[in-house]
Symmetry: C2
Subunit: 345 residues, 2 copies
DNA sequence: TTGTATGCGTTATCAG
DNA sequence: CTGATAACGCATACAA
């Protein structure tokens, strides 16, 4: 039974609702489906008059090719996906923006999947997202390495943000947290601070681990370090600030800018002057921390570079070329108003 | 020529790379594709031993059904999309979060498309996004009504956020900007302010228009209103603040919280005390404005409600039920530290 | 240049 | 309960 007679059978039930497919356009224009396909894809070797007829028919019927069917036939979708753990973190917006633009230049679209910090769903989400598109940019800092290693074959081609994956060769864009921390510490030391607090991020965060290590290494024989469990959000920073007063520290290194901002806010409520009585530094340089009161000294991560670089590597992968070497971005120390000379005791 | 012999022809060239499809699993398990399909979809009426064989084969081969092929066969994708003009605006994150969770309960996934404020690409993006999934949540405040009206048939089913569309019956979730503005103004008037500045959002923004109208209406015979072109971002608010000093206003109504925050920051730099010398209010109550110095008085939009409600309506639409009536959310006045009594002249 | 026939990977119908 | 087989909507060798 041909497709067409099938269609007309259905038409008996619902004449007006016949779906507008390539077949309908073909019938309307009086050509074959192949010709319609050619016209829609801009194939130049189609007679002008036929092309006209097809375009008119398509126009009248409001026809547009089905991306799903097209993807199946072509074996590619023309989209890539990025998985992020938390869209609320301004950290990602720069990456997303750059990635969107870079991909658009090659006629690729970006879709974003947010795991909402739901660690449990992340693997499923990643696989599903990946299978609906041609490539993946993966940011899953909390996912255990073994699990990621298991998933890796199913996710390829993909590029990693903010972590590396020993045992599976795929590009990754990482940030040199250690260097950033060193710069911040050097800055604080130069201001005379000798006893610092670190407001730690989530235990499971690899980047937190990197920061901690760098801090301890720098501290050896140079300054005292007090580590305070905290978190990664405004609220965490706000809540932890009260503990700061008893610690005799003169400066605070926060896990990231969000935490730093929360702490800053609480210190202000407590009547503690920043930076006169206490200095504080963040990490990331998210968009608005230059506007806090006082503006936040931080390690500025050039997020706008990451998007294009991620795309460049993913694009190479998708075309079976070998991607450029991994990027290890070094943050730039951004001195603002939240740091000042250590108060004399 | 059967599928299978076709496959083995190819295998000549690349034996090891034979794609793992339902057919391969079927062959491996020694059953038909139909059976594999049944097992993969949890169809209970399959003999235990067969089901076992299939699962083992699938496991060994690392098989997972192709979402694309599946979507084509089923006529549905199991995903919805949301189009936003700017992921950087914290305003959307609450909505996205709620929408993700609500959809997940029905086993639907959410994909996000960001138009990056690129008005030109927005229609194309909306259509493409829509055609790759089963429904759309559309937030396109700047798109001209006529254009949206043209697109509407191709976008259905969809629900609108933050605007209505006369001429096309589809659910929309809107915010009662006028009520929010009225509450803010009432608050400022009660504090003795009689000359206010409004930092206007983008001309093309319908919500800006609503705010302006409400302000003018409220102002009649009650207070003086100075309207300043501004924008929608931190930077806009920061930049416009210098103009404020000459205007003799005692209070500022900002287009949104971002602008308010930028202004707050600049006023602080200029040595103008908020709220002693100048009061300032925002709109939206995005997550961190409770942490600014001073914390921002604003009209709090309950964004966490919008996501679930959007899903409820989209879900109804996708199932040919009639959705509940439109929502017109009324913001709640959130008085914080950025407003105080008008200074006496 | 155009049409025919087939494949893309699944699901669903319908016999057996 | 299981297996052929026909869709789903499109693209593309191949033939004409």
């Amino acid at each position: 039974m041909s497709n067409r007679s099938q269609s007309s059978e259905r038409a008996h039930a619902q004449v007006s609702v016949e779906r507008v497919t390539i077949g309908l356009v073909a019938k309307t224009a009086g050509v074959s489906r192949a010709t319609v396909s050619r016209v829609m894809n801009g194939n130049p070797r189609v007679a002008q008059d036929l092309a006209q007829r097809v375009r008119r028919a398509a126009e009248e019927l409001g026809y547009a090719p089905s991306p799903v069917a097209r993807s199946l036939a072509l074996g590619r979708t023309g989209i890539i996906a990025m998985l992020v753990p938390d869209l609320g973190n301004p950290m990602f917006q720069g990456i997303l923006h750059g990635l969107t633009d870079a991909a658009a230049q090659e006629n690729y679209r970006l879709l974003v999947a947010d795991s909402n910090e739901n660690l449990h769903e992340e693997p499923v989400l990643a696989i599903e997202a990946r299978r609906r598109c041609d490539g993946l940019v993966l940011c899953a800092p909390r996912m255990p390495a073994e699990q990621l290693l298991d998933l890796a074959p199913q996710l390829a081609p993909f590029v990693l943000i903010n972590r590396e994956l020993p045992g599976f060769a795929t590009p990754s864009l990482t940030i040199d947290f250690a260097a950033g921390i060193r710069d911040l510490v050097t800055h604080l030391l130069s201001l005379g601070h000798r006893r610092l607090a670190y407001l730690a991020g989530p235990d499971t965060s690899a980047s937190n681990h990197a920061r901690v290590q760098a801090l301890h290494k720098a501290a050896e024989g140079t300054f005292e370090l007090v580590e305070l469990p905290c978190g990664a959000t405004f609220a965490d920073g706000h809540a932890v600030a009260d503990q700061l007063t008893d610690l005799q520290v003169t400066a605070v290194v926060a896990y990231n800018d969000l935490v730093a901002f929360g702490t800053l806010s609480r210190l202000h409520e407590l009547g503690i002057n920043v930076p006169a009585q206490m200095s504080i530094v963040g990490f990331d340089d998210i968009p608005f921390v230059r506007y806090t009161t006082p503006p936040l000294t931080t390690a500025s991560v050039p997020m706008d570079q990451l998007g294009p670089q991620a795309w460049e590597r993913l694009w190479a992968l998708m075309n079976d070329k070998s991607p450029e070497e991994n990027v290890h971005v070094r943050p730039r120390l951004e001195v603002r108003g939240s740091t000042g000379p250590a108060p004399s005791r």
